[in-house]
């Protein structure tokens, strides 16, 4: 064997050993999550998420806002929302029919309950009963609003902590 090659082989062997030892020692710390994308854990919140509670509906027909009772949206507790619907120029939208949908887009599941608008409270306010969120994270709550000839929908982003 060519004597000049021995140091090269030794160096290569030592380097390999270092990498293996280093990896084995670091495994308990980092875990194998970097080996496969599905092991990366839950995704972070989408950037620039609009989490405001008052927004213009998708086609601009209604200005819609929600408030929760209690004010801070609770985890695991059934509660009510009040939805306020008005025209972009500030006139309350009376006696519309409103459907409630929603879910966690990052988890691919819907709401754990089947909330409904049960009462028109007057002045463009609608009582939404049966709201519950059973996981922390990013939720979507969508309202489909039908008022006379006009139909539009709005999706709110809600961050449950």
């Amino acid at each position: 064997m060519n004597k000049q090659k021995i140091p090269v082989i030794i160096t290569a062997a030592i380097t390999t050993i270092i990498i293996i030892i280093g990896f084995v020692l670091l495994m308990p710390v980092i875990g194998p999550r970097f080996l496969h994308p599905i092991m990366m854990g839950s995704e972070p919140l989408p950037a620039n998420l609009d989490a405001s509670s008052s927004r213009l509906s998708d086609d601009g027909l209604f200005q819609v806002s929600w408030s929760s009772d209690p004010t801070k949206v609770p985890l695991n507790q059934i509660h009510t929302w009040t939805l306020h619907v008005e025209t972009p120029d500030g006139q309350p939208v009376e006696n519309a029919s409103v459907l409630v949908e929603g879910g966690m887009p990052q988890h691919g599941h819907g709401l754990p309950t089947n909330p409904q608008v049960t009462e028109y409270l007057g002045n463009g306010d609608y009582l939404v009963e049966g709201m519950r969120f059973q996981m922390t994270g990013f939720w979507e709550v969508k309202f489909v609003i039908n008022s006379g000839e006009q139909s539009d929908s709005i999706t709110f982003n809600v961050d449950i902590k």
């Binding site: 140091p7 160096t11 030592i14 380097t15 050993i17 270092i18 030892i21 280093g22 020692l25 670091l26 495994m27 308990p28 710390v29 875990g31 194998p32 999550r33 080996l35 496969h36 599905i38 092991m39 854990g41 839950s42 985890l75 695991n76 059934i78 988890h107 599941h109 819907g110 709401l111 754990p112 309950t113 089947n114 909330p115 409904q116 009963e129 049966g130 519950r132 059973q134 996981m135 922390t136 902590k161």
Partner: protein
């Protein structure tokens, strides 16, 4: 050559030191994580929620009667089974068995009673929507207490008349054996069922009212059984006060590492969240069917049962107004997500309540963690879990953390045994 060797040795040593330092270092918590930890802390448990379906829920006399009934084995077909048979105070109100045994063998593991006053749904499949409605089901199950509501009404008249009347008012006169046979009820036993159907509907209602009140008394007792703070709670309390000394004494570095995984990469808090470490919802986690048992489709069947339950929140036996029954009125009653979905157990005292899952499929927490790490296909519906890729060491750390959730029961000691004058 020599210089190179020294350099290489140096690099190896540095790698070793850095690795050890990273392993031994206690992780720091981010602001976000501290919010999460505070939500899991027992200090975040709200005041006991009212039970509008049970006007006797907070009556101390009712709770005392309930405690007596809870431990009284006369309320069974064999004279040997009480609620405490499967909900033993010394085993955190469970029984340590994979499948509970009353007068026969059930097809589910008994769940703890600790903290169930906070849950809108009872049983693994949520087929009952109050503690009192839950308490009545085993009494008429052919494999649990095995008795009938008529038999129980006679027992109340014979042994508890005074206490009963002090709470619920006059007890009907059940002494006429033609109108009120010894054994009758809407149960599986054909003779008992025939006797029940032979009674007038007015008489049946008199009996059912007594039966319902028994449930409401038992629920008044069970409401008082709450979880006590554990080492984990001491740790979080210290963390919120920035008291590093107490933090170190409350939890070891392995337990803290397990906690970090629990709220982080292992994603346990999706379902085990809030101060009781359960979201009281229903999830399919692909738990295998127990050998010898038929396929259990969990919530899919449970939701149908609760909607049709004679004792649900909207029933004539409930004291609630319609507006108090939001959980039932807005329940999700169909969809694939209900298939083989079960309620996540509270993780408080979880290390003391083996075996695990709805039919005791896993004997140890190690088996549970291995299941979550490599989730199999579900026997029905869709398994919500994803592989976690945890190492053995990480799984051991999570189990170490789960052990810090053992704090026992927060209730006066006299509530944890049969009352003396039973």
């Amino acid at each position: 050559m020599k210089l190179k060797s020294i350099l290489l040795l140096g690099i190896v040593l540095l790698a070793v030191v850095v690795s050890l330092w990273m392993i031994l270092q206690q992780p720091r918590w981010t602001e976000e994580e501290i919010i999460t930890l505070r939500n899991l802390w027992i200090g975040s448990l709200p005041a006991l929620p009212p039970d509008p379906s049970n006007v006797f829920a907070d009556d101390p006399q009712s709770a005392l009667l309930g405690q007596k009934l809870f431990f009284d084995t006369r309320f069974s077909s064999s004279n040997q089974v009480s609620c405490a048979t499967c909900h033993k105070p010394e085993l955190m109100f469970t029984d340590g068995l994979p499948l509970s045994i009353g007068v026969g063998t059930t097809d589910r593991k008994s769940m703890t009673i600790i903290g169930t006053a906070y849950s809108p749904w009872q049983f693994w499949d949520g087929r009952k929507d109050s503690q009192w409605a839950q308490a009545l089901a085993p009494l008429e199950s052919v494999v649990e207490h095995g008795g009938t509501r008529m038999q129980y009404a006679h027992l109340i008249a014979n042994h508890y008349q005074e206490e009963y009347e002090a709470i619920f008012g006059p007890l009907p006169d059940f002494s006429d054996p033609v109108r009120f046979p010894a054994i009758a009820g809407p149960v599986d036993d054909p003779d008992a069922q025939a006797a029940w159907e032979g009674m007038t509907s007015t008489d049946r209602d008199l009996v059912t009212q007594v039966f319902v009140n028994m449930g409401k008394a038992i629920a008044a007792y069970e409401r008082l059984i709450l979880p006590a703070p554990s080492r984990f709670d001491r740790y979080v309390e210290a963390l919120l006060k920035n008291d590093e000394q107490t933090m170190k004494s409350a939890m070891t570095s392995d337990e803290v590492a397990g906690l970090k995984l629990f709220i982080g990469r292992a994603d346990c808090i999706q379902c085990h969240n809030g101060p009781l470490l359960t979201n009281n919802d229903f999830h399919n986690t692909g738990v295998p069917t127990r050998a010898g048992l038929p396929l259990d489709n969990g919530r899919a069947m449970g939701v149908m049962k609760v909607l049709n339950d004679e004792f649900n929140c909207l029933s004539q036996w409930s004291d609630a107004e319609e507006m108090d029954c939001s959980e039932l009125r807005f329940v999700v009653s169909e969809g694939e997500q209900l298939e083989a979905a079960f309620k996540p157990s509270t993780l408080r005292n979880i290390a003391e309540t083996a075996p695990y899952m709805h039919a005791g499929q896993f004997a140890t927490l190690e088996e549970v963690l291995r299941h979550y790490n490599h989730p199999p296909l579900s026997p029905a519906g869709h398994n919500e879990l994803e592989p976690l890729g945890l190492t053995n060491r990480e799984m051991a750390q999570i189990i170490a953390f789960l052990n810090t959730l053992s704090g026992g029961v927060d209730a006066p000691p006299e509530l944890l045994k049969a009352p003396l004058n039973n």
